[in-house]
């Protein structure tokens, strides 16, 4: 099986990567670009731990082929902060206590950032609906939701 050469932008950096047709975006990020913030929880679109932004919209990176990302703009959890300045969603979820083991957190942050980008003032039910695809077995979700509400005010 051949390799495909793709060019893409990841967290503002141009990257050129050789990938097989069957490599997922998740595996490319973690194994080729060593961006291990993005997690693998199920590899089947169920848990949301692998959520990244692709061309401004959140996707389950376990269900996207790396080769489909030629010319794409990808943002992972590593790309949320600017220099030493955390993104408001990172600060708010930390302050609200919305992180315990942290495994779901990268996906939660990206899905929440994407929600606030398309709807800067979401209601509680809109926040819940936007995070349906992000499973968290630690926090019970309440503090995550509070964090998103706080971030919306920042």
């Amino acid at each position: 099986m051949g390799f495909h050469r793709i060019n893409l932008t990841v967290n503002g950096e141009m990257e050129q990567v050789d990938v097989t047709g069957y490599m997922t975006l998740l595996d490319m990020l973690r194994e080729k670009l060593v961006l291990t913030g993005t997690k693998n929880g199920c590899a089947a679109g169920e848990c949301g731990a692998c959520t990244v932004m692709m061309n401004g919209e959140p996707v389950n990176s376990c269900l996207v082929l790396a080769v489909e990302c030629d010319q794409a703009l990808i943002v992972t959890v590593e790309g949320l902060a600017r220099d030493t300045q955390l993104d408001p969603i990172q600060k708010a979820i930390m302050d609200a206590g919305g992180v315990q083991c942290g495994y779901c957190t990268p996906g939660v942050l990206i899905a929440s950032r994407a929600l606030l980008d398309r709807n800067p003032d979401p209601s509680e039910s809109e926040i819940r609906a936007a995070l349906v695809g992000n499973l968290c077995r630690c926090t019970g979700y309440i503090r995550i939701i509070e964090g998103v509400q706080e971030a919306a005010k920042m």
Partner: protein, 328 residues
């Protein structure tokens, strides 16, 4: 290839594999979440090129759009194509268009979030947006498409009921050029459709819906959100002077027959006499009798039947209520 049955323990599976089987199979028995099997990826520039490749590699190649069904089936080794043909970049796949006389055309590559957000869908085809909204999660819907949902032909497909009741037609590129197929005769069984090797669905088309159409989708899942349905009920109704009742009702059921099921009898019962609590109950009873569910991990056949009756009644009542507000 050896089939590994879920309830077997791993040791038995490994023994059954035999020593000459590939290392990958061994690895997969040890790994709860194996990656995708090897395949090559193609992105043709024209329909002709894509279709020809699918024909010359029959049995080895498959088209895909979002991959949210296909990749999971491949990950689970249910399917093992050698080639995946990415068709979403082809001409017109990305377009959504509506005009009052011509109806609505949704390109096969339009993802569900775009469909839900489209003002023309919200205004004229609200039941389609409602059904799409019930699929999985926001991030999955960035990739999932309504045409993929239909081509996958799962009896549980959430957008299929609405598409059937809105008289959807698929535009298909195949060996003989373009053709149209009605959804009503598209499904043959679970995962089986009338599509031939080399066929590529380019878009789905809906006629302009009848004036005053109202709809309701009720999805019963194991949890409130983001699960496949145990039972799905789509109901639509619209004012119709040609019926005794003055209203035409239609009902479709998901997950309770080998194919998505339209219950014709519902329209008949609610057309010939004025609509009352009693006739609505009769229609819901007819829906229960029409379905042929099976037992599976999500629910027993008996439970499904009873839920079809109860939820059909709720959905029909809801539509009736919406229609009476229209007349008020």
């Amino acid at each position: 290839m050896v089939q590994i049955i879920g309830c077997e323990n791993r040791l038995t599976s490994i023994v059954r594999l035999g020593i000459s089987d590939r290392l990958e199979e061994f690895y997969n028995t040890m790994n709860a979440y194996p990656g995708l099997p090897e395949f090559d990826y193609l992105k043709p520039e024209t329909y002709a090129e894509a279709s020809e490749f699918l024909v010359t590699h029959a049995g080895e190649a498959r088209p895909f759009i979002g991959g949210t069904d296909l990749f999971v089936q491949m990950r689970d080794r249910v399917l093992r194509p050698k080639y995946l043909v990415d068709v979403k970049g082809l001409e017109g796949m990305d377009e959504i268009s509506f005009d009052n006389s011509g109806g609505l055309t949704i390109g096969a590559g339009v993802n569900m979030n775009r469909l839900i957000a489209a003002p023309e869908v919200a205004e004229h085809y609200q039941i389609l947006a409602e059904a799409a909204q019930s699929v999985a999660s926001y991030q999955l819907r960035t990739r999932a498409t309504i045409v993929g949902n239909i081509c996958n032909a799962s009896p549980a497909g959430d957008t299929i009921g609405a598409s059937l009741l809105l008289d959807g037609m698929l535009n298909i590129y195949g060996g003989q050029g373009m053709r149209q197929e009605a959804l009503s005769t598209f499904f043959l069984g679970p995962g089986e459709t009338i599509l031939q090797t080399g066929d590529i669905v380019t878009s789905i088309w809906f006629p302009r819906p009848p004036d005053g159409v109202k709809g309701k989708y009720i999805k019963l899942g194991r949890n409130k959100l983001s699960d496949l349905s145990i039972v799905g009920v789509t109901a639509v109704g619209y004012p119709d002077a040609d019926t005794v009742s003055g209203t035409h009702f239609k009902l479709a059921l998901a997950s309770v027959a080998p194919v998505p099921l339209v219950v014709e009898k519902v329209g008949e019962i609610l057309g010939v006499t004025p609509v009352t609590e009693e006739t609505l109950k009769d229609a819901a009873e007819a829906a229960m009798e029409a379905c042929t569910p099976i037992d599976d991990v999500r629910g027993s056949a008996r439970y499904r039947k009873l839920m079809v009756r109860n939820l059909s009644l709720n959905a029909l009542k809801d539509v009736w209520h919406q229609l009476s507000l229209l007349n008020a």
